[in-house]
Amino acid sequence: MSSNDTSAITCRNLWQVFGTDAQTALSGALSRSGNDPQSAARELREGGLIPAVQDASFEVGRGELFVIMGLSGSGKSTLVRCISQLLPGTGGEILIDGENVVTASKKRLTELRRSKLGMVFQHFGLFPHMTVAENVAYPLRVKGFRKAERLARAQEVISLVGLEGREHSFPRQLSGGQRQRVGIARSLAVNPDIWFLDEPFSALDPLIRRQLQDEFLNIQATLKKSIVFITHDITEALKLADRIAIMRDGKIVQIGTPTEIVLHPVDDYVREFSKDVAKGQHARVASIMGDSDARVGADDPQLTTSMTLDVALAHCMELYEPVPVRDSAGAVVGTVNPSDLAAALQVEET
């Protein structure tokens, strides 16, 4: 159980296959192919089934913001629904805080949802016949809280998302951005440890989206939830994520930090994604930093590990010698050659 002690969510060889008798078909296909996911998936597809998630394995650490990114139809929404058990997975296991939720009873799942899990939906999933306050308090109502108690708690989260004064409005009276704030508040009402967000900002205008992303980061900075965040927008993924999993056709093709994804894409598919991204805004100095005992020049432009490459380059515009890099405490932890900085920012031609 060593890895479970540190990770909030563990997925091992998770499959979600749609079609009749999917479970038998999957185990048959896997045993025939000798557990090779590629050929098993091919066999399933030939049999008229749809392997929406294939052999997904990953861990989400405590307090980590884990983003799953992919185009529509890549299986990312299906994957998050497997983890939250809105869909029963076809194969593999999912551990939440070390507890296997695939085999958990319906009752236990309801309990988990009432205490530990929260979810935000792309189209908000608000209940149209309830006011904002009632929507937000609904998870507490099904839990059996008394009215005064649950409204008091709802009020807290409503202020957290900045919706004071709209408690008695109905969803239809709110703008898209406000509606999603309600969705966020509702998912936080029971103060869950684990937070699923399924494309929460995709249905919003770009300006509102950016504003909500910033607020979301602020909320996360104070709450420190373990998060699975789904998006199809690479900029959003790079902005928010601690780590990103990139999905394609039901498979996870790469898992890595934003910098790794941008600087070391595993294949053309991932490279294609990051092509249009201004790398300098996402990659950090730490990712290209050399040894601390390397020779440094006389200049010290005060670089730190967490600086983006763009900022770092601006600091050493006139420099040609390697310069020292400091961590947040101010100790020198490495060196960077300005020419490497410039090289890392080169846009690839192919």
Binding site: L86, T110, M119, F121, G125, L126, F127, H129, R141, S187
Partner: protein, 688 residues
Amino acid sequence: MSAAETSVTARLESMNAGAKAALLTLIVGATCLMLEPFAPWLIKWPAAWVLPATDWVGDGLSWVLEAVKPFARACSDILSYPMDWANVALNGTPWPIVIGIVTAAGWYLGGLPMAALGFLGLSFVLSSGYWFQSMNTLALVAVSVPLAITLGGTLGILANEIPRIKSALQTVLDVMQTVPTFAYLTPILVLFGFGPVVGLIASAIYAAPPMARNVLLGLERIEPEIKEAAIMSGGTRLQQLFQIEIPSASTQIMVGVNQCLMAALSMVIIAAVIGGFDDIGWEVLLTMRKAQFGQALLAGLVIVAFAIIIDRMSGALATERKRYAPFVSWVILGVSVLFTVLLWKYLPNPNDLRFLDPVAETVDQGLSTFTVANGASLDSFKNNAMFYGLLPLRIGLDNAVLPFTWGFSWTAAMSGWLFAGAGVVGLLLAWRGHVTAGLILVILTGILETGIAELPWPFVLCAVAALGWVASGRKLALVSVLLLATILLAGLWERSLLSLYLSGAAVFACALFGGLIGLLCAVSPMAWRVMRPVCDMLQTIPLFVFLIPVLMVFQIGEFSAFLAICAYAIVPMIRYTRHGLINTPDEMIESAISSGATEWQILRDIRAPYAAPSILLGLNQTILYAFAMLVIAALIGTTGLGQSIYLALGKADVGLGISAGAAMAILAMIADRIVQGFAEERRQVLGL
């Protein structure tokens, strides 16, 4: 103004509309009850105050009808030609060929199952011995449907072309839908004289509205881009209409044809009440009157067979794209012709075939054995339902509770206790924040104590106005009160209350049981798989046929009528409840699940509120169905407006027929608008 008074006004102002309306109704009702001993006119509208409106309507209409009569009679003469031709064609064609044609058409439209349906259905008709009567009925349908399609289609297209006609037409169609079928018959009878042409005209008039509605709907629903493309292609208006728009709307129009056929068949059978024509509806009526229930059931099943064949085939024509090899159809046809030619000498006269007579007799005997054996328990079931359910609802606990049935007699003290109890529970509810519910509880208790048929008219007017006001606003309240006042003045009030009581009881039963069955079907797919064919069946059967089984078991009377109404009116409630409950958007269900709600909590908190508009529409349909059946049920013993309409038909009394029909339509329309109002309000709350 004292402090107490201020607080009372403040309280009143803080109440919501529903509570205010309920409070007002309660006050009016209570006042009426208290004044009753001193002012009996509050309950019974005095005859002296009745305007002879029925006579005026009769005189006025007779004058108009007399003026139109020569023209109508000419029409009737002209129409008798195509009818005779259809008759000759259908009865003259040897029966194997008729069966062959229907089977071949069935194959072409729906493959083997449909061909089998056609073949078996007509074989059943043949062996029942009602071939001749059936062909007569079909001949009526065959002439009336083209008339109805032309009439309805023209109206629908005109309404689409000329916006000013549209709203007028829609109002007329709404009214026609609520006017009971029998009410059509009286003026037509006067105009066209006795004979099959009356059934023909009535069914053409009755079947035209669904056609018009669907044509209009189909034309309105065409995508704007298709219309714009037709315009940009340079077509004239007529070219656009006939080359682009009507073909684009063909599916909806064919749905209209399907409904038109079913309505025509239903009306042709109802029109048999007038008599004078040897068709299958008349056969049912005749055998029913002679208490030959086996034969009546057989004839009824013949009607059902026709209804199902016509419905399924025209339905496939409308909605199924797939067609089957015409070659097979030709082979079937060829075989039937060959069969006829080879066996010409041996072909029996279809009316001599009475293979099923023994079955009918067995049913008759079985039934009499059954009623003899279970007579006591059936009677006690019926009596219990009457004495403890329907009767108190009709004449109130104060009159229905007698030592003879309940074992004690109702006293004023008991009324006092009942009201006190209701008052305490009502106050409790109000104290818990449900003011409206508390008030409504007290009002309902009052209605139960008094009985619907003996409610004071000011109370009814006030209650309807209150409902109308809450459901939709001042306009509906005003219109409802004016229309009800017309009934009051025309002297049809008591009969209206009787109709209201019986249909109200049936609607209540349908809402309760239909709602529960709908819920069950929503929860369990198994239950729906069982219920679905039952619902389809009940909706295909012409109204008339519902009377046979209830009559067989429970004889003539109000209880049989009640059961027949319920059997017919429960279907929309089941369908709409299920539909509403299972059509909650996925994301709402998912967010409820991830909020930690259990299945039951999701049903109660999310699905049910979301389904409310749909369930209300189902209730609305149920009410309209109940009113429609109420008039038909007059044949087997109901009091009230239905009976008046039926009697008027017998006496060819146009005034009474039309007035009672109008009163019925008024009741149906008010109920329709109020429930629609509530449904609309729910939809708005849900942001739909």
